[in-house]
Amino acid sequence: MKTIKLLSILFISSLVFISCSDENPLPVNEEEVITTMTATLTPTGGGTAIVLKTQDLDGDGPNAPVITVSNSLAINTVYTGVMEVLNETESPAEDITEEVLEEALEHQFFFTPTNGIATVAYTDTDSEGNPLGIQFTLTTTDAGSGTITISLVHEPEKTEPGVSSGDITNAEGETDIDATFSIVVQ
């Protein structure tokens, strides 16, 4: 009978333990989430910078990212480009660009224009001399319209053919950001 007593004590004590834990859970601090990517294109000859921005404030939530292009690009112009990646679920927003820079070996931006509206060249490298893409130049040609897709890939195979010149085909890895901007060159 002792065992029964012991069992009932165990059971009752577990019920007591249960009734104590009624606190509300804490919201998760999502440090890693990327909500926003901006590409700022400044004409080398001077002028107003053009901003390509994608913003998805609910992360994996149902709302699609809001994609904006501040203006059209000018023909036959060289732009200096800078990428910025933010986590705006935090306040103030966390600059993920710093993390990408710190882990440059494991990251690479890819820029894929269509319709031959522009060409892109990397102007920065990681510690092994492979491109990173936080800094780049974008050169427009003749008038036209098309898209530029900008992707951030985590753990790409930077030594695979074409990858270091910006071709994403063999890059593999995982896509952290993938955004397509409609561009008019005039």
Binding site: T3, I18, V28, D56, G61, P62, T114, E172
Partner: protein, 800 residues
């Protein structure tokens, strides 16, 4: 009848007898069954310290004449009973009633050559015994039970193996280990049961919900894992197994040691450890597929006829690496993976377990106590506590690199009690009740939104089962069970998701806090379920019998089906639960024909299962995020039917050669929309030829052919994905099953004599002998890589 049988039965003690000069005393008595009081004929009653003995007649009566002493002891034994010693004082009593325990259940467990050891006489039940389980020592529970036709598995790679019974898996299967219902977050397909197969002595598998004693929600079936049995004699015995296999360069060991005492005390300890590195397909290494599993368990207790108790503890830690290439970013990555013949990442062999990986620690504590009452029955009370702590690690960036993405701790307390009324062995009744409490804690420190929220769950169940034997040939089982489940959760929803789900209209009253972009809500659900089970077995004579079963079972939705809300990296999909999901109801009928003789066995099992409100995941659309686009899979409810047949045939051509065929076929349909169900096992047939020669050191050799057909009935869930880079849509083929495959496996074993009395069993096997490249439809990583290639294994088993 084996020697062990007699040893257990005829265990006699010797004591001193005081001598008296008066030799005309008379002593008589009656021997009866402990449970129902029926007289026992042929019991052997021996007066200790003398050569006097008597044997009970058909009425159980016995008599001793011309006894010289007043105080003495008699030992009473019978072939199918536990023996018993009784002290007699003739001055007080010259007639005695002796109750013997008809120990059939326990004895059969001891007798390894016996065929039956079943939990039920009428259910579709199969038992896997230790000699077969030993073969799977380096694998898992899910691999071992595939020995049974109709059982398959749904895998994530090679190490995460979930059992599938007649097409149903996860929460629809109930796993009992040492009479404890395993509570280990079984809802996820990538969550394998936390059972150390090396701690099992035998496994019983019951198809369908015909084991109401354990639960009413096992629509698929029940798996009962039994630890090693003890019996009342002074003994110490153990077993040590060593395993090694070439593919993955794996090794493992397991040791079990049991000490038993004639007074009924026993103590057992078991330790196992196994480790494997990266597996290999015929053509490439599977980078990051190793695993490391460590387990130990111990139990101690007292087993007497009238009362007994047991205390049990087990610890199991599994670390499992998941194929590196299966961790992907978006749909485009998935398309690339499907179109690529080889995984995208192949590195050199390693034992390292890197992200993506799982780490699960499961602990069970159990204590039970029983009391038996004369002419009445047995009362059993049990408390168990389980702690399941699951970590999942993703490929992450920055400071979170080594931080788990999922950190869930599930604690379960269960109290249960059963009363078995077996005074009349033709009409046995069992009634029982269960009360359970569960607490799930999702650690917010992961920095990733909780996939499963914090919740508390309360369970209450009550059942009654009757086993009737109206005639020698007929056995009938009837059971009824009622279950109540309450789940109280606290969950954060993204405000955007809350609105998209339409919860604003139906559930606005459960919001407890508004964080702007997030809402904290408090869903609470109650479920009431009634389950019924009936079974009938009829002996047709000449080794033939038939079984019929009907089962009504209900399952309340699990936490995943209600609350899932997030991105699954290995599937590149967003999975969404639904707060509106109701319980599902299954009506299953089945029939079995069985022929079982020394020379041949034929078992044909058929089933038809109609499930109302069957809960399953189905793709419903595409959502775009900053990462790119993802298909959305939502939990839905449909009406489904599953039906099929399983066949097992064995024939002994002569004393040396045996052939066997096991086949299973089934179909699953969503009758609401006339589609095939997803994840239904395809037609499979295995053939085996075994040669045995006991004279050659118990030698046996076998070759097995395993043929798995392509699944032709599958739902088309393919979808078009927009690829921005090329400004085009491409078809993502996630549905087409891989082609049929055929595997050959060989195995041989024999006894190696190491001393006069001791043997070591040596087994050698080669799986996938022809090094065939193949992919299995029910492996979630089939988009990324082939199954493993040829594997040489060696195993040493030492019983002592």
């Amino acid at each position: 009848m084996s020697v062990k049988y007699y040893l257990t039965c005829l265990f006699l003690c010797f004591i001193n007898v005081t001598i008296s000069q008066n030799c005309n005393l008379k002593f008589q008595g009656i021997v009866k069954d402990f449970h129902d009081g029926t007289p026992i004929e042929g019991a052997y009653i021996k007066m200790e310290g003398s050569n006097l003995y008597a044997i009970s007649d058909e009425r159980g009566n016995f008599v001793f004449n011309n006894i010289c002493t007043v105080n003495f002891k008699v030992s009473v034994s019978h072939v199918s009973c536990d023996s018993k010693t009784v002290t007699i004082n003739l001055n007080k009593k010259s007639f005695i009633e002796i109750r013997l325990e008809h120990h059939i259940e326990e004895l059969i467990e001891v007798n390894v050559t016996s065929k039956v050891n079943k939990k039920s006489k009428t259910a579709q039940e199969t038992v896997i015994k230790s000699d077969v389980l030993e073969r799977y020592s380096s694998l898992s529970l899910g691999d071992a039970i595939k020995e049974i036709p109709g059982i398959s598995s749904i895998n994530t790679g090679n190490s995460i193996v979930k059992p599938v019974i007649n097409g149903l898996h996860s929460s629809r299967i109930l796993i009992m280990t040492n009479n404890v219902r395993l509570q280990d977050q079984e809802w996820g397909i990538e969550h394998a049961p936390n059972i150390d197969i090396n701690s099992a002595e035998s496994i019983s598998l019951i198809k369908g919900a015909n084991a109401l004693e354990f639960g009413g929600d096992a629509l698929g079936g029940v798996i009962i894992v039994n630890p090693s049995r003890t019996f009342n004699k002074d003994s110490i015995f153990g077993k040590t197994m060593l395993n090694g296999h070439s593919n993955g360069k794996g090794y493992g060991f397991n040791t079990t040691l049991t000490k038993t005492f004639s007074k009924g005390f026993y103590i057992n300890g078991q330790v196992s450890h196994k480790q494997t590195g990266d597996y290999k397909t015929p053509d490439y290494l599977l980078t990051n597929t190793g695993s490391k599993k460590t387990g130990f368990s111990a139990f101690t207790g007292l087993k007497k006829l009238e009362y007994g108790f047991e205390v049990y503890y087990s610890y199991l830690k599994n670390k499992i690496a998941i194929l590196r290439s299966s961790h992907i970013g978006n749909v485009e990555d998935l398309v690339n993976a499907i179109n690529s013949d080889e995984p995208t990442i192949i590195n050199d062999f390693s034992y390292d377990i890197n992200a993506p990986k799982q780490e699960v620690i499961h602990q069970i504590f159990k204590a039970n106590y029983y009391l038996r009452f004369k002419n009445f029955g047995k009362l059993d009370v049990q408390y168990d506590y389980q702690n399941n702590h699951r970590f999942e690690f993703d490929i992450r960036r920055g400071d979170d690199r080594d931080n788990a993405a999922i950190d869930l701790e599930l604690q379960s307390h269960t109290f249960k009690s059963t009363l078995k009324l077996d005074s009349n062995s033709d009409n046995i009744y069992k009634i029982g009740l269960l009360a359970g409490y569960q607490d799930n804690y999702a650690n917010p420190g992961t920095g990733v939104r909780r996939l499963i929220p914090d919740y508390q769950k309360f369970d209450f169940g009550i059942f009654s089962i009757g086993n009737f034997k109206p005639s020698e040939k007929l056995a009938i089982d009837i059971g009824v069970r009622y279950d109540f489940n309450r789940i109280n959760a606290k969950k954060f929803y993204q405000t955007s998701r809350w609105i998209e789900r339409g919860y604003n209209d139906d559930f606005s009253d459960i919001i407890i806090e508004d964080f702007g972009t997030q809402l904290l809500v408090k869903p609470s659900f109650d479920f009431h379920s009634v389950s019924v089970s009936t079974g009938l077995s009829y002996d047709l004579g000449k080794n033939r019998s038939v079984l019929f079963n009907y089962g009504l079972s209900n399952r309340a939705p699990n936490a995943s089906e209600l609350f899932s809300d997030g991105l699954h990296h290995s599937a590149a999909r967003i999975e969404l639960g639904d707060l509106r999901i109701l319980k599902e109801t299954s009506n299953r009928i089945s029939g079995t024909y069985n022929y079982d003789s020394e020379k041949a066995t034929i078992t044909v099992e058929g089933f038809f299962n109609h499930i109302h409100n069957f809960i399953y995941l189905e793709p419903t659309g595409v959502e775009t995020t900053i990462r790119g686009s993802f298909p959305v899979w939502e939990y839905k409810q449909v009406n489904a039917i599953l039906f099929g047949a399983d066949l097992n045939m064995r024939y002994e051509i002569n004393r040396k050669f045996m052939v066997q065929n096991k086949s299973s076929f089934m179909k699953g349909e969503d009758v609401s929309s006339n589609r095939d169900l997803i994840d239904i096992p395809s037609l499979k047939t295995t053939n085996l030829v075994r040669f045995t020669n006991k004279k050659w050191s118990n030698f046996s050799a076998e070759i097995q052919s395993e043929l798995v057909f392509r699944q032709r009935n599958f739902p088309n869930n393919n979808f078009e994905a927009y690829i921005p880079r090329t400004d085009s849509f491409i078809l993502v083929d996630i549905s087409s099953p891989p082609p049929a495959y055929h595997l050959l496996n060989v195995r041989s074993d024999f006894d190696l004599k190491i001393s006069k009395k001791e043997n070591v069993r040596v087994a050698f096997s080669i799986n996938n002998l022809l090094n065939t490249s193949y992919r299995e439809n029910l492996n979630r990583l089939r988009y990324f890589a082939d199954e493993i290639g040829r594997n040489f294994s060696i195993q040493l088993i030492y019983n002592y």
